[in-house]
Symmetry: C2
Subunit: 343 residues, 2 copies
């Protein structure tokens, strides 16, 4: 058996929902009546998006998770994905756990592998994911029931799901920039290596959220995408956001102790501009607060209200008393111009 036959063996499974899966020139998917296909693609490169020695099972999980997170941001139900894989060599000891991590997450979300391409080359993993959303939105004249980055209005609340900044904190620790206690590092590292895409929350927010994006490049950057598409500004209560750094909230000595030890600017940088969170940042009118709480409960996903949209352009960070906060963020001035990005 050739080495790429081996790869095929790791990734070929019976077709479930697709009309045709792995094994022909194309895969075939059929949308249910009244549904649209949501599509996203992400390419992960060794040494840039992950360390070359990353646990391959975690890597398999993560490279699908970041794609599912895009579906979550659109309120799409995952259906299927394709996998293109460039490998320096076909190493069974790497492929077996990689495929396990990948397919376990796929199974958890009912998202089947329907095709792909394998080649020799510098390690590169490119996944394209397909989900479905209703073709009709709840708003009059809407051409889609998907959650979009556009559509929110001034006065809408801004929410973020889960926790923020722990992945960035783990990255700094793994790069030797700071030293975390082992138990803190373990939790933060798990967030970096095994993000859980907020698919259930995205589905629950259909018809509730007025705009949504996933937090992959950092909270302020991704909120910035919403502001740009909506033509609005925002006020964000920094304290509420910073409280979402799990490592800080759980620090035995309290938040003040954590800030003294690692620096308040590190906390700000990780939470507001860290990236790799794969949470959802979304907006909803104040009249929908009960509906947001229901969506949070139904999806068993905590959400925190961190601010509101405003007509005046720009992003204002304020403290609990509404006073302006000037964060020290390396990337803050450039949050709308990330060094790489989505088309």
């Amino acid at each position: 058996m050739g080495e790429f036959e081996l790869i095929r063996q790791f990734f070929t499974r019976p077709t479930r929902g697709a009309v045709l899966g792995v094994g022909d020139d194309c895969a075939l998917l059929q949308s249910a009546p009244g549904m649209q296909m949501a599509i996203s693609t992400d390419m992960l490169v060794s040494g840039r998006h992950f360390f070359a020695d990353t646990n391959p099972q975690a890597l398999g999980h993560k490279c699908l998770a970041v794609n599912l997170s895009d579906l979550a941001a659109c309120g799409a139900r995952p259906l299927a994905f394709t996998l293109a894989l460039a490998l320096p060599d076909a190493d069974e000891a790497w492929l077996a756990p990689f495929s396990q991590g990948l397919l376990a997450l796929a199974d958890a979300h009912g998202c089947e592998l329907i095709g792909g391409d394998t080649t020799r080359g510098p390690l590169n993993i490119c996944i394209t994911v397909f989900g479905e959303v209703p073709a009709q939105g709840s708003r009059t004249g809407a051409v889609t029931g998907a959650l979009l980055r556009s559509g929110a209005h001034a006065g809408d609340d801004i929410y973020v799901s889960g926790t923020l900044g722990d992945a960035a904190l783990a990255l700094r620790a793994l790069q030797g920039e700071l030293l975390l206690p082992p138990e803190v590092l373990a939790v933060a590292r798990n967030r970096l290596e095994r993000p859980e895409p907020r698919v259930a929350l995205g589905l629950a927010l259909r018809g509730v959220a007025s705009a949504c994006a996933d937090v992959s490049d950092g909270l302020l950057g991704d909120l910035g995408h919403i502001l740009e598409r909506c033509g609005l500004g925002a006020e964000v209560q920094t304290d509420r956001a910073l409280a979402l750094l799990a490592a800080r909230a759980q620090c035995a000595g309290g938040e003040a102790q954590f800030d003294r030890q690692y620096g308040y600017s590190t906390v700000q940088q990780c939470v507001l501009a860290g990236g790799d969170d794969y949470e959802l940042v979304f907006c909803a009118p104040p009249a929908q607060r009960a509906a947001v709480a229901q969506a949070s409960a139904r999806s068993a996903t905590p959400v925190t209200r961190i601010g509101s949209l405003q007509a005046a352009p720009g992003l204002r960070l304020v403290d609990g008393l509404g006073r302006a906060v000037a964060p020290k963020l390396a990337s803050f001035d450039h949050f709308s111009a990330p060094s790489e990005g989505r088309l």
Copy 2:
């Protein structure tokens, strides 16, 4: 403007057929009623699928062409594609012609760029393409109107479109393995660098061909995929196939002169196992010969009948008198185990 903003500028265009194109977490596509989505993905790696110094305009053309060829093999009408691009740097002098070549072919086929991902890394181009096929086939109980690798029967004719082997001939010349006259090299090189996907033929063969695949890994290898999926064998008239090497057919001194100069085994190797042809190999019952001729005429694509399917497994190469031919092909024994492949 950041360098990846530059990339975005080269690739972002107004949305036409898609519900939502570039610029959100997901793109949105809606199938017409009664249609299915055909999906294929291909990853092209520098130094493996193309020379690092390949003309970027030709490369842009080719990386979409190889994907459209998969749609052609399914009889799918191109709709849209996503592009994931890893680049060592964002070089405008490379990006401008690359995007021109890519988008010119996309426009020619009404196939719009609806999303993607850009990152820094070793040059890697991953395209996922979407087309549509009728959900109902002409055969009773068919779950798709797509052309598949499966479905043909013993006695069906085997056809191949266009010309074969010139891309492989050009590759050998560019690698210094043989010397071609400049005018011959120019024609062959054009086939290597600017393949024209047989989309129109694929569409015309809906309801006519009993099985179809595109010739990307070499005629015998790709015909082998059909045989495997159909559980059949085949007899191929080698002379008819070898006559499809354009450089040989057009040789001023005649085919015999060409064979003397470059070696008959080179001719065999290029035509039967060369790869990079992006023609279609397909089957149809003898009763459909007139319909195949019509499909060929309607799509302005020459097709040649090169053999027939047989119940006995295996692939038999015969000469014009039906006598067995034993080709000297490096990859012949392994044609069903290519060194890399499609999931």
